[in-house]
């Protein structure tokens, strides 16, 4: 087995383990390269099917192309596609872009809180209707107790401490100091009522592995990752007011892989274009403890 086959096998195992144990399971899909690889791995694990909903948090500041790409794939792959949002904050413009709040508060409003309530089912969820191809209000208000997310340990400090199966309490809080042991592919799959689990099948993958796998499997990705002719591409995708591209001439997956292997970005963290990281002590820890992904 080569290293991509090994990574794939481990992730597939984790996905199947999650599916086996959680009735109310969902997968977070940010439209980025990592969670798209995760979605692809789910299709691997379940032989072309994705037997749980994909949840996206729409901040209304996503680059429009991302939403288009999300809906195209959802129709094509017949995904159980669900999105949620913080309607109140968006209507009242409690955002960084409007100047009313700082970056971290904006993240909390549009991402963390929206995610929390979408998962809990106490805010409206919108679900794709495959007959009309548009979204309806979802009648299912059951909370999701198992949440699959595409975080990678190499992304930044706090993510390196994650478990494959990581319990969060009722308030979505992460008790970093007291995590369950994991060994020999045995994970925490028993949990008390009220807690829920985050499941992280991509923990061992690196940025390079992600791109190698995208190439190997020909996984469709958003064009924002590639140089559009202005000598710039996005390495990490987020909300447009807080995300900036890097200098790069890479126009294909192959060229991105070469660029990463060349060590060009060895001294620049992957999320260097994400402004909220810098304001959270470089660790994203405050945001993540509160439920940020």
């Amino acid at each position: 087995m080569d290293h991509l086959e090994k990574l794939e096998a481990k992730s597939v195992y984790i996905l199947r383990e999650a599916y086996r144990d959680f009735k109310n399971l969902c997968m977070l899909w940010s439209i980025g390269k990592d969670s798209t690889v995760l979605l692809w791995l789910a299709r691997k694990a379940f032989f072309g099917h994705v037997p749980f909903p994909l949840v996206h948090i729409d901040t209304h500041f996503k680059i429009p192309e991302m939403i288009q790409y999300r809906d195209d794939l959802a129709r094509k792959w017949y995904l159980n596609m669900v999105y949620g949002e913080n309607t109140e904050a968006i209507n009242q413009q409690l955002t960084f872009h409007s100047g009313k709040v700082d970056r971290l508060t904006c993240c909390k409003n549009l991402k963390t809180d929206a995610l929390k309530h979408t998962l809990a089912g106490d805010w409206l969820r919108y679900r794709m209707n495959h007959v009309t191809g548009t979204y309806d209000v979802d009648s299912n208000k059951e909370p999701y107790t198992g949440v699959i997310a595409g975080v990678r340990a190499d992304e930044e400090g706090s993510r390196s401490k994650e478990r494959y199966f990581s319990p969060r309490d009722k308030e979505n809080e992460w008790d970093v100091a007291n995590q369950p042991p994991e060994m020999w592919n045995q994970f925490k799959t028993d949990f008390a009522p009220g807690t829920h689990l985050r499941i992280h099948p991509l923990l061992d993958w690196t940025e390079l592995n992600i791109w190698e796998y995208i190439e190997k499997e020909s996984i469709p990705t958003v064009s924002l990752y590639y140089n559009q002719g202005n000598g710039k591409r996005y390495r990490s995708l987020g909300c447009w007011p807080c995300t900036s591209p890097v200098d790069s001439n890479a126009t294909t997956v192959k060229e991105i892989i070469e660029e990463l292997r060349s060590g060009k970005f060895a001294n620049i963290t992957e999320r260097s274009g994400r402004e909220q990281d810098k304001e959270d002590g470089g660790g994203l820890e405050t945001l993540r403890k509160d439920g940020y992904m």
Binding site: V176, P181, I257, G283
Partner: protein
């Protein structure tokens, strides 16, 4: 396209022995840090008026910095010319043992860090034990902070002697002990000029010399059934048995047996998504199969190839367990056992011995397993499970125990046992007592000829008695292991495996025959008792009353052997008889 090899390594050690500094240095010296990171941490240290330390690089979490100890297994990455590494920092504080275990269980190799100044500490020993139990195959010991002992070779050597002997008892043989100073980078990435007496490799060279585990496809096929899928969407009518192949390989057309149910079928297809069709698949792949007939299969069965050696099916087995939960493991309480993909109710039937992991002394008579104990015990499941012993197949021979939603212990299966074995053990113990009180006074030994060529013989003792016995034994087998504090050079020259060190019951593992011939009569008796517990038969030197077998006087010629026994009572008479027989057959004057 060029693909780079990847390896997981773990760094473990007692608290404050310098693990995080070792890792911080590895990252910095191999140029694996984003440039901003080092400056960022240095600036943060300056702001807080703290001297910069490499360890801070890892302390990405704020509350961790506040406590000053690594609370969890952090992963970071570094590269050498040879390959990419994922390095796992495992906390040294005993409170965080479960984090250490989580980190170490993923590793292909371990760096054990010991502070030269503080020497071997409780956790240095406990970690050694866990590394042996977790089955990490490659270990290098870093004797850190040599600067604090003025680079003194004697200090280094005494740690090598003491810790080396300890690890040897556990069956762990480190590739090297490296004197080093992580703070200053001595012998880490670069050879140090402060310790010219050390001529071995640097830490980094050793890390690059670790080898990748071989994919062992030669073992019998085992695939724990993780789930059975039938997704009917878009007219899909496949019924797929899904799981990850732990060992061996299997092909379309093979007959397979599911255990413990003993159901059988034949493989129709190997399923995948966006992958070329294959007819054979092996170890490591997370895959799926369709079968010739629709079996009802509960999750947790093990799929095996019918023609292979099959796993053991039973509900009672002997295991070594380490316990991580605050609440002890107690008898007659229901726990959940997770082994391969099976989950069953289990209870602790017997505690055979509890080992204090700090000094490997065994505590007898304990009836529960406390936090941080390592115990040898018997577990009993409410329904039968399929399993292998750890020496046979690792992945189907290890398990975790769940108590009240939490993984509380981990363990390895050392022996299968049927309903009766424990009773037999109790009878042995009773017999021992009767012997001790002198009720049994004489016995007579059954002569037989035993094929020992495929079995392990363990000799505890390295003096003249051992030498005389070995002279005969080595004609019949080359699987002999000798353990003693000091071993005669004549024995070392024999085709045997030998280990110098203090006796531990662990060295009796898997033995068929055990010879106890140290010069300590009490110890010999104890070895005899330990040997029976692991199912071996034992000879206690000069003590036929406590022996299961005795060594006759033997005369061999060509294919013939003559053995003379006096039931252990009159050794010199046996030798006389043997010599007379030899003379009879070797004297050319006599007809043969």
């Amino acid at each position: 396209m060029e693909t780079r090899e990847q390896m997981n390594i773990v760094v473990v050690g007692h608290v404050d022995h310098g693990k995080s500094t070792v890792i911080g240095r590895l990252l910095a010296d191999t140029g694996s840090l984003p440039s901003g990171k080092l400056d960022q941490v240095k600036a943060s240290c300056e702001r807080n008026a703290r001297p910069f330390e490499y360890a801070f690089l890892l302390d990405a979490l704020k509350d961790e910095q506040a406590q000053g100890i690594t609370i969890d297994t952090a992963r970071c990455f570094f590269k050498t010319k040879k390959r990419d590494y994922i390095i796992i920092d495992a906390p040294g504080h005993v409170e965080f043992l479960k984090n250490m275990v989580s980190g170490a269980a993923r590793a292909e190799a371990a760096l054990l860090v010991i502070d030269a100044h503080e020497g071997i500490q409780e956790n240095s020993r406990r970690h050694g034990y866990l590394i042996a139990m977790l089955g990490i195959p490659q270990v290098v010991v870093l004797v850190n902070k040599m600067d604090l002992v003025k680079y003194d070779q004697k200090v280094f050597q005494s740690i090598v002697a003491e810790y080396g002997a300890f690890l040897k008892q556990l069956g762990v043989s480190p590739k090297e002990f490296i004197p080093m100073s992580a703070r200053d980078g001595d012998n880490l990435a670069f050879a140090s000029d402060k310790m010219n007496w050390y001529t071995g490799k640097t830490v980094l060279d050793h890390v690059d010399a670790f080898v990748k585990q071989q994919d062992d496809e030669a073992k019998p096929f085992r695939m724990p059934v993780q789930d059975v899928y039938k997704f009917t969407e878009k007219g899909d009518d496949r019924r797929i048995i899904a799981g990850t192949i732990e060992t061996g390989s299997v092909s379309v057309g093979d007959e397979v047996t599911f255990l413990p149910s003993h159901k059988k079928s034949t493989i129709t297809s190997i399923e995948g998504f966006n992958t070329p069709e294959v007819k054979t698949i092996g170890k490591g792949f997370a895959t799926g199969f369709t079968l010739a007939n629709e079996l009802y299969l509960p999750r947790g069965e093990i799929m095996c190839k019918s023609e292979d050696r099959l796993p053991i099916v039973g509900s009672r087995f002997r295991a070594n367990i380490f316990w991580m939960a605050r609440a002890p493991m107690i008898k007659n309480k229901k726990y959940k056992l997770k082994i391969a993909s099976a989950r069953v109710t289990v209870r602790l039937a017997e505690v055979l011995s509890c080992i204090d992991a700090t000094d490997l002394t065994s505590i007898q008579g304990k009836q529960q397993i406390d936090r941080h104990d390592v115990a040898e015990c018997v577990l009993e499941t409410t329904s039968a499970i399929a399993f292998d012993t750890i020496d046979d197949i690792q992945s189907t021979g290890r398990f975790v125990v769940v108590d009240n939603y939490d993984i509380s212990g981990g363990g390895i299966i050392t022996h299968s046992t049927d309903e009766n074995e424990s009773t037999i053990n109790q009878q042995i113990d009773k017999r021992e007592m009767r012997r001790d009180t002198g009720i049994v006074t004489k016995k007579s030994f059954l002569p037989l000829c035993l094929d020992v060529s495929k079995s392990l013989i363990v000799m505890v003792g390295g003096g003249n008695v051992a030498l005389q016995k070995l002279k005969t034994i080595i004609h019949y087998t080359d699987r002999v292991q000798v353990y003693a504090c000091t071993i005669l050079p004549q024995i070392k020259a024999m085709p045997v495996e030998w280990t110098e060190g203090v006796y531990s019951p662990l060295c009796l593992k898997n033995a068929l025959l055990v010879y106890a011939c140290t010069n300590d009569k009490e110890l010999n008796r104890k070895i005899g008792q330990d040997a029976r517990k692991v199912g071996a038969i034992v000879n206690v030197a000069d003590d036929p009353e406590n022996s299961d077998f005795i060594s006759p006087a033997v005369f061999r010629q060509d294919h013939m052997s003559v053995a003379v026994s006096s039931n252990g009572l009159l050794a010199s008479t046996s030798v006389q008889w043997r010599n007379a027989i030899r003379e009879f057959f070797t004297n050319p004057m006599l007809p043969t």
